[in-house]
Symmetry: C2
Subunit: 369 residues, 2 copies
């Protein structure tokens, strides 16, 4: 049997630039974007067992790290390229830059290539809210936000729009970063105040989000600052040698992680013994493990950023960009009349040869029918 | 100290499409392209110890595999995305498609994004010749080429132009593939003949190149076919469950590999016990280990394709495309006035805010001086 339609299998890759993703967010709206992203993430976490998972592949250097984060289910493969270079801001560059690909498992075709710098900030915030919905006290209204850099606005808006946070207390060692955040979010309805210490920001907060950038073993949160019932959304301790929490903060909390093997290497968990108990979040999201068990419990989401969130983000971008007609085609793959004739790409053109190539191609395809 | 020039650090990524690489080869010429690629590969293999190496990260599925192949030295990071789907040709698609990235280790910026489908065929052929120069008998003139698919012309031309092969005997189970190859190479000066069996093609050949596509444990070469002094360039056995050589062919040969840990998993070597002796090629290329030691010895290059060749190919493409003015800018990364203000990408535009962002950015950069 001949499959004429299959001969049309497209080898084009759809490209979403930074501007495409910014346009997408602007057309959909930031609240709706974060809401839908959280839905995509939740859907994918609930089918956790469908995925072929591995810890990311990191290449460490003196000033930073470059990582590849692959993941796949039976139909779709995704990976993200992402760097982490805290000193980049001194050069006028972002600390974290990323792009990613969504590919077809059946053929290997990279269907989508997208910017993921902006998208990583969006998906990280959406992931934090997916966790907080399961772990924070209901009716949480006040959040401390420690670290007011590139990702902070996204965290603030996700917790505001998706979880009902009304007040955010800011702290950053760089006061200009807090000022930038306050101006960016001045018309959002959030009550924002800049604090002069971490303790001032954290006191009485329902949720504490830490999203600092330094690649050091820092102690942003110490056990004295913890209050019963708090939920800690620990985002910035996400790479070997980069932690934010005092070990006793982990000991005093119920700790939830994305993918245990990766978090043991990269999360604040890297400070703890190998048998320190944690719960993978997907089990809570599927109702197979408890989340918060009492109002007084301290819960901690030790977020490191897992490939599955990027898979979800790329799916969301693909679906939404298609609806909105955003993106452009990228000539990343060859279009060949005969797939065994790669050489045709560099063969000096001549009508006779092109005709002959077509003659060859037809029987070759028919014979595979 | 202020570094005003560093503020200009470009975040643009240079993109080379399939057409750009085809134009590059057409402008440079295929012989010169392969010659220079072989030089780049040789240079990089001779500084083997400079590289942070790992076996590629593979995601296997029923019909194929998708792999990421990262490698880095202190300055430059590279990775390739590549699939292997033997059944793709039935859909009119190439078996192997690839693209890759060259990035700056100091900042994490992906500087180059390039097609690597065509480039992989070029670099694989160049790598084969780098190995054959060290391992084949001097004055080799006749090669058997088993498997006449997408990569075959590249192997043929590399051995012709760079090693002096004058006659090539072809065999493929698909006679149309051999016919395609003969037509593609009819004006190159090579003497080409299609054979009706592997034995006929191999008999009396100085070099035997196997580059078949089936993802099975095949025995393209059996020990009876081996003749004293032959060099075997085994290219197609390059993935778990995909081999081309009878184990006794390996036992009867001096076996050379790119990166032993990867070849033990992926090469024809996967059939042999873990202590079967092999030599990493870089040691031969640096003069630290012998290559061929006698005219009668059978040598085998168990090629699987290693990330370092892609690093070399990407370097070559970057340098040459720059000289020729090929490629285009890709808006993969954000351009931010203030690197901590990622949110500015989606902030509703207003003159007042843009001015404020600029005011923030300046002191923030000065304070890092």
């Amino acid at each position: 049997m001949k499959h004429p339609t299959l001969l049309q299998t497209p080898t084009q890759t759809q490209f979403f630039s930074v501007q495409d993703v910014a346009n997408l967010v602007s057309q959909v709206g930031i609240a709706a974007t974060l809401t839908r992203l959280a839905d995509y993430i939740l859907d994918d976490y609930r089918r956790w067992q469908d995925f072929d998972k591995c810890a990311r592949v990191a290449s460490h250097s003196l000033d930073g790290v470059i990582e590849l984060m692959p993941i796949a289910d039976a139909k779709t493969y995704a990976f993200k390229y992402v760097n982490g270079h805290p000193k980049n801001t001194r050069l006028g560059l972002p600390t974290v830059m990323a792009f990613g690909v969504l590919a077809d498992v059946a053929t290997g075709i990279p269907m989508v290539l997208s910017e993921l710098t902006l998208s990583t900030a969006l998906r990280t915030a959406a992931m934090s809210v997916v966790a907080a919905r399961a772990l924070a006290r209901p009716n949480s209204k006040c959040m401390a936000l420690i670290g007011n850099g590139a990702q902070a606005e996204f965290q603030a808006l996700a917790f505001h729009h998706l979880l009902g946070i009304e007040e955010i207390r800011l702290f950053d060692t760089d006061a200009l970063a807090s000022r930038k955040l306050m101006r960016n979010l001045q018309h959002t309805g959030l009550r924002l105040s800049a604090c002069t210490s971490i303790a001032q920001a954290v006191r009485g907060a329902d949720i504490v989000t830490t999203v600092t950038a330094d690649k050091t073993n820092a102690t942003i949160l110490t056990p004295e600052l913890m209050e019963p019932g708090m939920h800690i959304n620990g985002v910035g301790g996400d790479c070997p040698g980069k932690t934010e929490l005092h070990p006793d903060v982990l000991r005093g909390s119920a700790v939830f992680v994305q993918y245990e093997p990766q978090t043991r290497i990269e999360g604040d968990l890297q400070q703890m013994p190998a048998d320190f108990a944690v719960t993978e979040l997907w089990r809570v999201l599927r109702g197979e493990a408890p989340g918060r068990t009492s109002d007084g419990q301290i819960t901690l989401f030790d977020s490191v950023g897992f490939a599955l969130e990027d898979y979800s983000a790329l799916r969301y971008l693909r679906d939404t960009a298609f609806e909105l007609g955003l993106g452009q085609r990228l000539l990343l793959l060859p279009e060949l009349a005969n797939p065994k004739d790669l050489f045709s790409l560099i063969r000096p053109a001549s009508r006779g040869q092109a005709d002959a190539a077509r003659r060859d191609a037809e029987p070759a395809l028919a014979s595979a029918a």
